[in-house]
Symmetry: C2
Subunit: 133 residues, 2 copies
């Protein structure tokens, strides 16, 4: 049986990293864990690791990326929520069987070797959901 | 020193609870912890408690609530993220001193006796943030 464990992270789309850091790091006082380019995702990411879950600021570095299109269409704000799961393959089959629209029908491999897949917001009630194993 | 502990919950605005539950409970398989009316917030809320953090589906029950206006303007989707903090009063002072726009300048009392305050999305880069002590 697949199982949803926890909210792994919340990704927040920003137009420029300086403005994002000004609120989340400087005003709110979150401790920046890491900030780096992730070419596979066409993004620069600033990671804030909390006691439970992470907050990530994501800035597009590719002009034709989904993230860039999101910013143009919706403006800055929460981009997606990532849920950590056990049994990703079984969960994707379960979702497909119920007619849920998946962005990734089979898991993709992240740069850290872990597998993930996105569910289309059309099937979730407007939320871009990442499942991460 | 105020301190942000963790992502306490993510609230997802839904137009009707049935559609929301169809994805989050039935397709994704989250276990519904509780579903009840919260008159103080003018909402019906379905709670899914995970190992780390909660997911809440919120449906407006008052026609003139902020939640109802959010749905009309932005459509269903993530409504706010709630961060659990230590030192809420000090944190609000720190935010005010930096010119951050607060929706609640002083904490409000939740129905469970815990204190919370919302930060305006204008100051966070488009994210409605709840701080919860």
């Amino acid at each position: 049986m697949p199982h949803i464990k926890r909210i792994h992270h919340l990704a927040i789309a920003v137009r420029d990293m300086g403005t994002g850091l000004e609120f989340w790091q400087q005003a709110l006082g979150l401790e920046l864990s890491e900030r780096r380019q992730v070419p596979m995702e066409g993004a620069e990411i600033a990671f804030f690791r909390l006691e439970g879950g992470e907050i990530e600021l994501v800035r597009p570095t590719e002009p034709d990326s989904g993230l860039q299109r999101f910013l143009e269409k919706r403006g800055p704000g929460i981009h997606h929520v990532c849920l950590e799961v056990e049994g990703l393959d079984a969960l994707l089959e379960q979702l497909k069987a119920r007619g849920v629209r998946l962005i990734n029908e089979t898991p993709r491999l992240g740069e850290n070797g872990r597998r993930y897949a996105f569910i289309h917001p059309e099937s979730t009630g407007g939320v871009l959901v990442e499942l991460y194993e």
